[in-house]
Structures are given as C-alpha cells and as structure tokens.
Symmetry: C2
Subunit: 189 residues, 2 copies
C-alpha cells in the first residue's frame, strides 16, 4: 500500500545511492506501470532502454560529458556553461553512480514525443518511489551521440532520448520541498 498523497510530497529527486543493485524484474515492473500513462491519441510512443551495469553507465556518463563540453566550447553563451567545471571533473558521474539507468525516448519524428515520454517518466518515478526506490531525471544525460555507443545500447537511428532516469536504493532522500508556490495567472469564472 502506497498512499498517493504521501508519495506526492515525499517523492524527491535522489542523487545519493546505496551500492546495491536493483533487480531487473523490479525495473521491468516499474516500466510496465509507466505504460499506464496517457499519451497523445493513445500513441504510446515510449521505448525503454535499461542499463543496469555500472561500467556501462560510467561510459555513458563520459560520452555525455564529452558532448556537452564540446557544445559549450562552440556555444559559450549557452546556459549549460554553468556546468562546465563539474563536467571537467573526471570523477563526476552525471548519473550519480546509481546502479541502474533507464532511458525513456522514442522516434524523433513523433510530434508529441516529449510530452508523452515525460508523462511516462512521471509514472516511472512515482512507481519507483512507491516501491522504495529513488530516481532522478538526469538532464545532463541526454547527449549520447557516438553512433557505435548508441548502437551498443540498442538505440535505433531515429531514437531521441527524452528522459534518462537513474534508479537505485536511496542513501539520502531530501526533505519535503518548501519552495512550492501555485502560480495561478487568472481564474475566469
């Protein structure tokens, strides 16, 4: 039993994980739960890739860091610039040394791909939290470009990563956020 209203404020982005593997069965259950998300025209365009191997996750982190740093070099005005020093730190793993990483994405030609995959990602993160796991959507983890690496992890040529989500047993879960304010522009009644 997992009370939704408890999950609502207690589900937080987790960036600190125990050194403990997550079983593939459990990840598959969470993926099945994610597929209950609504999608535009019930298109269900989400496709999942599971990486539960720390060496591979490190390799994907390095690939992502390399691509973002190269992007920053040619676009020094980009907001990503603020991450430059941390990305240059060889020991920094964009996936927070989590034991498992799941990509949610799909065919880049689908117009609603981003919102559909974000809805599935939300279901994924709730389901994981309800099962005692932590997750974090890692924005810095989308830059997987090397064709060989992409092929090795099973990404079709037209695959766009929307949500790279790390999964693991939390060592520390941040407290309930206190900076939430409902910004309602207008009530038309």
């Amino acid at each position: 039993m997992a009370d939704f209203f408890e999950l609502l404020s207690k589900r937080r982005s987790v960036r600190d994980y125990e050194n403990r593997a997550v079983s593939l069965d459990l990840v598959e259950e969470i993926i099945r739960d994610s597929c209950f998300a609504p999608s535009s025209g019930d298109g269900q365009p989400w496709r999942f890739i599971v990486v539960n191997n720390k060496e591979w996750i490190k390799k994907l982190s390095d690939e992502s860091k390399r691509n973002i740093l190269s992007f920053i070099e040619t676009n020094p005005e980009a907001p990503l610039k603020k991450y430059e020093s941390v990305l240059r730190d060889k020991d920094f793993n964009v996936f927070y040394n989590a034991p498992c990483l799941v990509f949610i994405g799909g065919c880049k030609d689908i117009r609603s791909l981003h919102v559909d995959c974000a809805l599935a990602a939300s279901y994924f993160m709730f389901s994981a939290a309800a099962r005692g796991l932590g997750t974090c959507w890692v924005g810095l983890g989308t830059s997987i470009q090397d064709p060989k690496v992409r092929e090795q992890v099973g990404m079709p040529k037209d695959y766009r990563i929307v949500a790279p989500i790390v999964v693991g047993y939390p060592k520390n879960i941040p407290g309930r956020p206190d900076n939430r304010e409902a910004k309602i522009l207008k009530v038309v009644s």
Copy 2:
C-alpha cells in the same frame, strides 16, 4: 487515503462529465499538488489558468476549432485532418462540456517548458483522480490565438499552452486499459 497502485491503472482519460460544478478550492488544492512535480533545474516554469465557467469554455472551444480548421485548410496533409468532420460539427465541444478547464503552460522561451509542464500535468491528473475527479488532457484545446481572447483569460503574450486539462465529476470512467505493452528495446547488463 488513495492507493497509488490502484490510481495507476484506474486513472483514465474521462470524456463524459456530470453537470456539476467543481469548487475553486478543490481546483486550487490540485494545482498546489501539481507544483510538487520535479522540473529542469527546479525552474518550476508552470503557470496555471483556471476557467470554471461553461460559457467561457465553449468560447475557447470555438476559438480552438476555428484555428485548427483554418490550419487544416492550408495543411491538408497534416494528421489533424482526421478531426475535420468532428470539428465542423457545431455541437462538438473540444472540452467535452466539462465544468472546468485548467491550462498549464508558461513562457515559450523556456527550453524545458513542455516536459516540465507535462510532469506537472501528470501530478494534476493523479491528484484529481485521488480526489474523485476525472480529467482529460485535450490536445485539440491548445490553439487559442485570438489576442483579445488570450488577454481576457489572462495569458501573457509569451505564454504557450502545453496542457489544457478538463476537470469534472465523471459520469463514465473507462475500464482498465488492455492494450499496454512495455516496449523495452534492450537491457544492457
């Protein structure tokens, strides 16, 4: 108490509503819940507009239909073409005659606006379901272009609608979906 795993499969898109108003207090609670969603860099770019007036909702439906039909005329190959006949039906309300409509959107210049607002929308739809309400993300409801109408409902010039969500007491809730399949492209372990 609302069990998350029950909500997960029972929360469905509702298109058939009782003729019963939803209190503004309740809608505001749901909006507050939605703001617990994670967002890129904790930017929380979501801005909400609540329309709980059926005449206004009808006006917004007409405005959306007009704009989509005009788009179809100049883009006859667009996928939206399949909605042409229903959009030409004067009695068809894209918002399903629901008593309440909430727009989730924000400044169009924010790169992560679509995924951030989709995450908030997912929280919104879960919270509403946990409170006994039905919702539906109405893709056909995003074409609000008339500057006067936009101003009247409180949309800033740079406001982009991501998720128009109708809210109400369900008359009929569809059953558990039976067309869900977890599409896992690869497990790298």
